[in-house]
Symmetry: C2
Subunit: 497 residues, 2 copies
């Protein structure tokens, strides 16, 4: 192994010897160390570099990665204010023992930190700000044309989604042959022993672009849609090296979530032990502790396993939510409930009304839901937005309306067990602070709402499709009969006064 010339001083060295390093980083921002090291052989597989970050009694060790041209990087998302000392660690002498310090300062206004779990079944940012996932799917968007990628961002900003599910590996049935793969293409074949650093720089940019518009990136590490390139048959050591590489590159970005796979069970040759192992690899490597889950087609993964932070479901069996929440003790996201669309595939031709309805059913079951759209436009690919692009459907604005309603509660909703109609409440410390009824396909012309005795409520009629909120005059307590529209898919919200 050849030592790289630049900054190659033996023993302890100062930070400036290892390239530009910031003196101040905001909390949950990205602190990065650049090092020079060996450029020959296969540095991706052969060279390890890491850094230890220390403040008081706490030390965090973060693995770095090779970024090509003899450049190595260690990236970390500091989570605690104050001055951190750091020192690099590597078997390569030139990258061992480089030292420095930086100050972690208060975050800027838009930076609430990464999203984690709160109150068992809900989410919040690290600064305590509640986060209610209302996501959509842009699986292969980073493989689309630049024009379509920009359209995707513009559209997401407008549409009001705050999470996307996106793949690191390309899909066969999107965007044609990708310009770049995560692995370099050599003589028409992917070299799984190395990585395409250009691809990853682009991927990082897109994840950061999402953060800039307030969107979480649910980064999907594996999927079964890459068979022609051999993505379903990579050797186990490649799978692990790939996972560690992605984590080392992206783990310092605060809006990252890890989805081990889309439809993991369609990777038929993989064993459950392999999935468990890769989950533990992510858990160990990702010092930021980003959210971790895996998405299924048929049999679910066991979401009770300790390295899973939340359930990521492909089902629309919303009535089982309570059962699953009880079994797993974690938030439930219905990450695939079929798509608004017009294609002949069964999963791709819901009406906007039906998808809107599914969001309401998920939310009033105390869970969350993810949107998707596959509207084929003749002679155009722009509308096939499950891989990015412009959403043409009717559900996004209704989902955004629901998102505002839920955010307005400031707390996560939980389903009221045994309620006669679908009913969820949000507590915020006080029982029955917000009560949300959803009547689904039922269309009563009135309903005797069994409100709690000894508390007063204001009532609002909500039309989820027209996106109208109409206050009902007066206040209500105990059993309260209220006249309803007699139309299907109505909701009523009660707020304690």
């Amino acid at each position: 192994m050849k030592l790289v010339a630049a900054g190659a001083v033996s023993g302890a060295r100062l930070a400036h010897a290892a390239g530009a390093v910031a003196a101040q980083v905001e909390r949950w921002g990205k602190f990065a160390i650049e090092l020079k090291g060996p450029a020959t052989g296969n540095p991706f597989a052969e060279v390890r570099v890491a850094a230890e970050f220390t403040k008081g009694a706490r030390t965090v060790k973060v693995e770095g990665f090779y970024d090509g041209d003899g450049v190595y990087r260690v990236r970390w998302m500091p989570d605690e204010l104050g001055t951190w000392q750091w020192v690099t660690r590597s078997p390569v002498a030139s990258m061992e023992g480089t030292k420095g310090a930086f100050t972690c300062v208060a975050p800027t206004a838009a930076n609430h930190g990464p999203v984690g779990v709160t109150d068992t079944f809900h989410f919040r940012h690290a600064d305590g700000t509640r986060y209610f996932p209302f996501g959509t799917t842009c699986y292969a968007w980073v493989f689309e044309s630049e024009r379509l990628q920009e359209m995707t961002l513009t559209n997401l900003k407008r549409a009001g989604f705050n999470k996307v599910r996106m793949c690191v590996l390309p899909k066969t049935f999107a965007a044609g042959e990708p310009e770049r793969h995560p692995f370099p293409m050599v003589n028409g074949k992917l070299d799984f022993t190395r990585f395409d650093t250009e691809f990853f720089r682009h991927l990082e940019k897109r994840v950061k672009d999402l953060d800039a518009i307030g969107v979480q990136a649910d980064v999907i590490l594996f999927h079964p849609y890459g068979k022609p390139w051999g993505y379903d048959q990579m050797p186990k050591e490649v799978n692990e090296r790939y996972v560690r590489y992605v984590v080392a590159r992206l783990g310092s970005l605060r809006n990252v979530w890890w989805s081990l796979a889309n439809e993991y069970d369609l990777l038929k040759t993989w064993t459950m032990e392999e999935w468990d192992h890769l989950f533990r690899v992510v858990e160990e490597a990702d010092v930021a502790g980003h959210l971790r889950s895996v998405h299924h087609s048929g049999p679910m993964y066991d979401y009770a396993k300790p390295w899973v932070t939340h359930a990521s479901l492909q089902t629309y069996d919303f009535d089982k939510t309570a059962e699953w929440k009880k079994a797993w003790g974690k938030p439930v996201i219905f990450d695939e409930v079929q798509y608004e669309g017009n294609i002949w595939r069964r999963w791709g031709n819901l009406t906007g009304e039906e998808l809107t309805r599914r969001f309401w059913l998920a939310v009033t079951a105390g869970a969350y839901c993810t949107h998707g759209e596959v509207i084929a436009v003749k002679d155009s690919k722009d509308g096939m937005s499950a891989d990015g692009g412009v959403l043409l459907g009717e559900s996004p604005q209704r989902i955004a309306f629901l998102r505002k309603l839920v955010e307005g509660t400031n707390v996560g909703l939980q389903q009221m067990e045994g309620a006669y109609y679908r009913c969820a409440n949000g507590n915020a410390g006080k029982p029955g602070e917000v009560i949300l009824y959803y009547f689904d396909y039922h269309r009563p012309t009135d309903y005797p709402f069994p409100l709690p005795e000894g508390a007063s409520y204001k009532a609002e009629l909500i039309d989820p499709w027209a996106m109208m909120v109409t206050p009902v005059p007066g206040t209500f307590t105990g059993k309260s009969d209220i006249t309803l529209s007699g139309q299907p898919y109505q909701a009523v919200r009660f707020k304690r006064v």
Copy 2:
């Protein structure tokens, strides 16, 4: 026990001694013997009378019943052409050994005989005519005003239903206090040791009225809605005597089905043994072998039990149909799938669209479905038609449209296992004679139908709501892509040419 004077001749007597007896009865018509016997004491409980009908080697013994005023009757529905000899049997000498004969002749055109099971999962009349149940509920209609009862018949005729579920016992939440009960009211309390013969004559008339308009009477023997009168707490011997009495009176009417109960499991103090026992009582007493089932609220009865002829379900879990058919090996009727209506109860406020959809889902699952409506009209009871009256809803005409489509196949439909969309076919001896697709909430703009190779089909687009059938030009064989409307709730029918 006092012998009645009229016609009391000891030993063998001629038929004319026992009142008017027809010399000819059409097949599946009603043959009746009238006898005079004791009128004192409690003949309902104390006197038994029966008749044996013999033709060649076959003898059928039929229990009779007391009809008040010293009159006893034995009724039978002859099922075989030719001359039948009969003789009465009773411990009462005056009713023992009366003899006669009659000829069972070919039925009139509208008389196809009682309905039974055919091809495991379907129904046919005794003469082989296929019967496809498209029923509705008129639970307490015989307790309503005469005006409403007449309206019920007029409406049924117009609406196109061919089965009603109707109760023998009154319900508390319909029609107010009944003019008559099946048991005589004595000092404000029902005398469960006797029967009100006037009530039963009226009940019989109404069952016959239904037959006259081609409607099967699914006669519900018990239900949990008669608590204030003590119907849920009758002694076991009363339950059995009541069942035998109803069977003796109504069993000769060809359009009768027996439903042991509506929501049997809401009769909380009853044991499963009691239900099994009463099923066997009906099975034994009803020599005509009318269809037998029982309807549930929560836990289903075990429809695999040998005395059950078909399943009578309260659920709309149509996707379980194949599983249930396999387990029970019997026809499945979704007898309660919630109601088109506008009341606040969850079961009573479906749109016409949703109820129509449920019929399509049932039928294309190879099962049958029953309609119900509870549309409350301000200051009127006429619309509350789950107990009879005039149907105001939008689903009946669409259900009648579906009935015609199904009747047009001439065979029962079976669900195609593993089909990508809901698909049922009807064979009529030739595989794939009729193939019916239903797209439910899906709205593909085209679909590559996987038709059998080596057979040619005509295709028709069906709009279940607009009740339109639109032929598609050309013929189709093998995989055939057909343009669809792109609207939800569409169907396509293929007929083999």
